[in-house]
């Protein structure tokens, strides 16, 4: 799943990116409002973490422009200002959630998962598809009650399919979801990961639609 991080502080940005990457998110990081708007318009991010105190165009302006352009990308606002008015202004400008600095990385991750879950219309925190279950908190996957061990990228790929159950995902879309900017993408890595998923969870977990892409397989009980 792909996240856009908008944060001007180098140290904090670096830390959040590292933390999210550890949790199998692909993170693009921009440091000012203009770049954030461009990125959000060009790429379908699963969520955006937006700092309000940005140089140039500030976070609230970015948020308002994004919503005016009709983009529904879930946005979690980060800010050092903690007064009631600031929170209200943030939420009213179109933020979906709000975190005050300093915060727990765990809390940031939990809120991010909740945001993405809500955006996909999923209610339960544990995602179930037939006999496949995925717990985003413990990042445990099982099929038919038996735990399956997945690598980070394999997990991220399965999560992408499960959060887009009806979608046909092209190879490009999947690559974008798995990799942040500047990360080396091998020529056939997506195929390799799909191969691994099929080996660990059964061949029917992902369906190949020749010439169009991939889709989550039918639920099996």
């Amino acid at each position: 799943l792909k996240i856009l991080l908008v944060e001007d502080d180098p140290l904090l940005g670096d830390g959040i990116r590292a933390g999210l990457t550890l949790s199998a998110f692909a993170v693009d990081w921009v440091r000012n409002g203009e770049l954030a708007l461009h990125a959000l318009t060009d790429t379908p991010y699963d969520a955006c973490i937006l700092d309000l105190g940005l140089p140039g165009k500030d976070g609230l302006a970015v948020l308002r422009e994004l919503r005016r352009a009709g983009r529904a990308t879930p946005v979690l606002v980060l800010t050092a200002r903690d007064t009631q008015d600031d929170k209200i202004a943030g939420l009213d400008s179109g933020a979906d959630d709000y975190l005050t600095k300093p915060f727990d990385l765990d809390e940031l991750l939990a809120r991010l998962r909740a945001l993405i879950r809500r955006a996909c219309g999923v209610v339960s925190p544990v995602i179930e598809h037939g006999d496949i279950t995925l717990d985003p908190v413990s990042r445990q996957v099982s099929r038919g009650g038996e735990a399956v061990s997945l690598s980070g990228r394999e997990y991220a790929l399965l999560l992408d399919f499960l959060t887009h159950p009806k979608h046909i995902r092209t190879r490009g879309q999947l690559e974008e979801s798995l990799y942040a900017w500047g990360e080396e993408v091998g020529s056939n890595t997506v195929e390799v990961y799909i191969h691994h998923l099929r080996k660990k969870l059964g061949a029917d977990v992902v369906r190949t639609l020749r010439g169009r892409g991939y889709q989550l397989g039918d639920a099996r009980t």
């Binding site: 001007d8 502080d9 180098p10 140290l11 904090l12 670096d14 830390g15 959040i16 590292a18 933390g19 550890l22 440091r31 000012n32 105190g53 940005l54 140089p55 980060l78 050092a80 200002r81 005050t100 600095k101 300093p102 915060f103 727990d104 990385l105 765990d106 940031l108």
Partner: protein, 465 residues
């Protein structure tokens, strides 16, 4: 009553007014009493002297006619005793005799005096009682009459008159004092209301005191209070904004430290953990720097003027500061171009603060310029005026940002450059303390210029002392 309460009363306007007015009323009362006593006494003297004279002449006239009737007259008069309760009907005491001093008749209680005394009134003390005595002689000198009255009679009369004037006041004076007390209380009520209004003021509510009810006498005080409220309010507002900004600026590095340490704990591979630890280290440095700047500003804020300005040589200090900045940015590749007068320029000031100010300016010039850029530092004098100019050949700042530079926590240029946003605010404050000001501008030929101007030169002659 305890000591402090008594001291409080002494200082209370109300008590002082009540005491002063009551004392004045009492004094006037006593004065009135004394005056009416002495006036009444004078009147009584004249009145009683008159009756004494009348009696004397009457007796003299009677003796003239018939000396033999005198004994019978004396006994009849002795029976017609006076009325005790009327001062103005005094007992008649007399002695009647011949011109040679033989007494022919006398009243029972008359003082035993020779009747050969000087003609006219005299005051005489006889057996511990004082008497008013009148001696008269007949025209032919054959008979003498002596009439007398006890002196105490006059005192009684005077006291009675004075008492009638003063005694009603005994009831009126307490009433008057009570009335004074209540009217003073009432008159001072606006002051009480004012006091409770002032007491209601808190740091959150420093609204100016107003109202038509403020007594004229208290207006200057209220005006001063209102000015004080305004100043305190402004200072508090400043403080509040500063605290909010400081909280804001401290939270971001704290958040970064927290996230980086969580990453260090979570990551399983060594390079990632090491990187996070390095980030934590530089984050701590940054937070330390920020804190130092904050404390410096907090210390400078309440200072009104320099404690002990001393002569400070600027040429040497600039060389020293450039060395410090170069050391702090190894590999920065900036060229320093110093334009300093040949003679040492000395100004009056605080060497530590001036060094901080110069360092901040030179440091900014290095941070916000590019490799191979030049930082030009010029020291110029015009008369007593000394100016230090730091001009970098970097990209300068956008016009709309220029006005906000120097505001606390405002970080105008590139945010990726580390900084607290306090450096220029500190320089501005230090310049103010030296009676100078900080000017910031883009140079017409490119680059950014920061200039401290208005430092006071110390004439070389004064240095020798």
């Amino acid at each position: 009553m305890s000591g402090p309460a008594r001291a409080d009363r002494r200082r209370s306007l109300r008590w002082r007014l009540i005491a002063a007015v009551s004392a004045a009323v009492l004094l006037i009362w006593l004065l009135t009493g004394w005056l009416s006593y002495s006036m009444a006494r004078h009147e009584a003297e004249e009145l009683l002297d008159g009756s004494l004279a009348q009696t004397g002449h009457l007796l003299l006239a009677i003796i003239e006619d018939d000396e033999d009737e005198l004994v019978g007259l004396a006994s009849r008069l002795a029976r017609a005793r006076r009325a005790d309760d009327n001062v103005y009907e005094p007992p008649l005491e007399f002695q009647v005799g011949r011109g040679d001093g033989t007494v022919l008749a006398r009243s029972l209680d008359a003082p035993e005096l020779p009747i050969l005394g000087v003609v006219g009134y005299s005051d005489i003390v006889r057996h511990a009682e004082s008497w008013r005595v009148l001696n008269l002689v007949a025209e032919d000198g054959r008979h003498r009459v002596q009439v007398s009255q006890p002196m105490s009679l006059r005192d009684r009369a005077a006291l009675e008159v004075a008492g009638q004037t003063v005694l009603p006041l005994l009831v009126i004076v307490p009433l008057l004092v009570l009335l004074i007390y209540f009217s003073i209380r009432r008159a001072l009520l606006p002051l009480d209301r004012l006091a409770s209004e002032v007491a209601a003021r808190t740091p959150e509510n420093l609204a100016p005191l107003s109202g038509r009810e403020i007594p004229t006498e208290a207006r200057p005080l209220v005006a001063s209070l209102n000015r004080l409220f305004a100043r305190v309010g402004a200072a508090l507002e400043n403080e509040r904004r500063f605290t909010a900004d400081a909280a804001h600026e401290l939270r971001t590095p704290l958040a970064a430290l927290k996230v980086q340490s969580e990453v260090a704990l979570l990551s399983r591979d060594a390079p990632m953990r090491e990187k996070a630890l390095h980030q934590i280290e530089s984050g701590v440095d940054r937070a330390g720097h920020l804190l130092e700047q904050l404390l410096r500003l907090a210390r400078l804020d309440p200072v009104q003027r320099l404690e002990k300005p001393v002569p400070v040589g600027l040429n040497a200090m600039i060389h020293q500061v450039v060395g410090m900045v170069e050391g702090a940015h190894p590999g920065a590749q900036r060229r320093f171009d110093l334009a300093l007068p040949a003679d040492e320029v000395t100004v009056r000031g605080d060497p530590e603060l001036l060094r901080v100010a110069l360092r901040n300016l030179v440091d900014n010039a290095v941070r916000y310029s590019r490799p191979a850029d030049t930082v030009r530092i010029a020291l110029t004098t015009r008369g007593d005026d000394v100016a230090v100019t730091v001009h970098d050949s970097g990209p300068g700042v956008p016009g709309e940002v220029l006005g906000k530079l120097g505001q606390r926590f405002y970080r105008g240029r590139d945010h990726s450059v580390e900084g607290s946003g306090l450096g220029l605010a500190i320089v501005t404050r230090i310049a103010e303390l030296h009676g100078a000001r900080l000017g910031l501008a883009n140079h017409p030929d490119g680059g950014f210029v920061a200039r401290i101007e208005g430092l006071r030169a110390v004439p070389p002659g004064r240095l020798k002392r």
